[in-house]
């Protein structure tokens, strides 16, 4: 229960009631109760008024429209990812890293390690010419690592998700 006789939400760390009230996401019953409380609590009234003003002012922070060729660029990247020659794939993350592109940095260490491995294999295959070692697809290693990283995030979400969220999936 929350009315003017109850403890003020600002004094009990129930500030989400105030935020929900200002964002109009409070259910009707709690909204009515909070309004009854505010009629007698100047602190909550002032806070709600200031928060509502900010909430509305933030509407002015509009995001720019998305570029018309966003999808085209994405599909081109997907296409490149799936069809480029092995050596191009190998150098792409290294090149991106050197150019300061985002999100490729972890690939450098993998690529460097894979390059070292590849050199070792080339040297060894020269020595053991009759039984060639199978070629290593370096990009597969890099991609697998990144995919595992992303799936790891998904896995973490599962372990953190409350039961209610799991039921909605």
């Amino acid at each position: 229960m929350l009315d003017h006789k109850m403890t003020c939400p600002l004094q009990t760390d129930n500030t989400d009631i105030l935020l929900d009230y200002c964002s109009r996401s409070l259910d009707p019953d709690r909204r009515a109760m909070f309004e009854r409380h505010m009629a007698h609590c100047a602190e909550c009234r002032d806070m709600a008024s200031a928060q509502s003003e900010i909430w509305m002012a933030m509407d002015a922070f509009e995001a720019e429209p998305v570029s018309a060729d966003f999808d085209q660029k994405l599909y081109a990247r997907i296409d490149r990812l799936e069809h480029v020659p092995v050596w191009d794939k190998f150098w792409a993350p290294v090149r991106s890293y050197l150019q300061g592109q985002p999100a490729w940095k972890p690939a450098l260490s993998v690529a460097a390690a894979s390059a070292a491995l590849a050199v070792v294999f080339f040297v060894r295959t020269d020595v053991m010419a009759p039984r060639l070692m199978p070629a290593i697809n370096v990009q597969e290693v890099v991609e697998a690592e990144k995919a595992l990283e992303d799936l790891d995030m998904l896995g973490q979400l599962e372990s953190e998700s409350p039961q209610s969220e799991k039921e909605t999936i």
Binding site: L19, D150, S161, S164
Partner: protein, 191 residues
């Protein structure tokens, strides 16, 4: 888990896993704008935001083969987006320092407010309001900024924001209250 009880996004993602690229297109259609707008408000630079968004969807596509609908799809999507944005902000801060980052941000957002049949005066007022809000949001610590953006512009619940930011629900409420408190203080003159 029965397919009928799956959320629509998870259902589409499972189809992508089976090789249905059309479903990936539908996912892109549903989430392209919210993800880019979130990133744009986070990094405050449109070209960078689109580049990061490309990486988000590329990562989703790359993970398709092993995808399992263990959590809400949008939570996963925004977690990837948040990670990329927070890393970008931290990298930039290390590289250039806050002062020049701010200059770059202004440049990246300068086309933001467009004239929509407004008078020159209205347009100026709008531009100035936009700029004040942008600066106030930019002044928030990264995690508070991410929480506020998901709360205000993506209408996410506290539990979902908590999952995205990998913290507790009460921590999110506290983050949000502190963030809005800062915004109220910085933007008091606009009220």
């Amino acid at each position: 888990m029965a397919v009928a009880t799956l959320e629509r996004d998870a259902e589409l993602m499972l189809r992508v896993r089976e090789g249905d690229t059309h479903s990936f297109g539908l996912l892109l259609e549903r989430h392209r704008v919210p993800v880019i707008h979130f990133l744009c408000r986070m990094v405050q630079n449109q070209p960078v935001a689109e580049e990061l968004a490309q990486e988000v969807f590329l990562r989703v596509y790359r993970s398709r083969a092993n995808y399992e609908p263990t959590a809400k799809f949008t939570t996963w999507l925004f977690r990837i987006a948040s990670h990329l944005a927070l890393n970008w902000i931290r990298d930039k801060r290390h590289e250039r320092g806050q002062e020049s980052l701010d200059a770059e941000v202004q440049e990246g957002m300068s086309r933001q407010v467009q004239d929509r049949g407004m008078s020159a005066e209205q347009s100026l007022v709008r531009q100035s309001k936009f700029e004040e809000i942008r600066r106030a949001i930019d002044g928030l610590p990264e995690k508070q900024r991410a929480a506020v953006l998901m709360h205000k512009y993506d209408e996410m619940e506290y539990s979902q924001i908590a999952s995205v930011l990998e913290c507790s629900e009460s921590a999110v409420k506290s983050l949000l209250f502190r963030a809005y408190e800062s915004l109220r203080a910085r933007l008091a003159h606009m009220a």
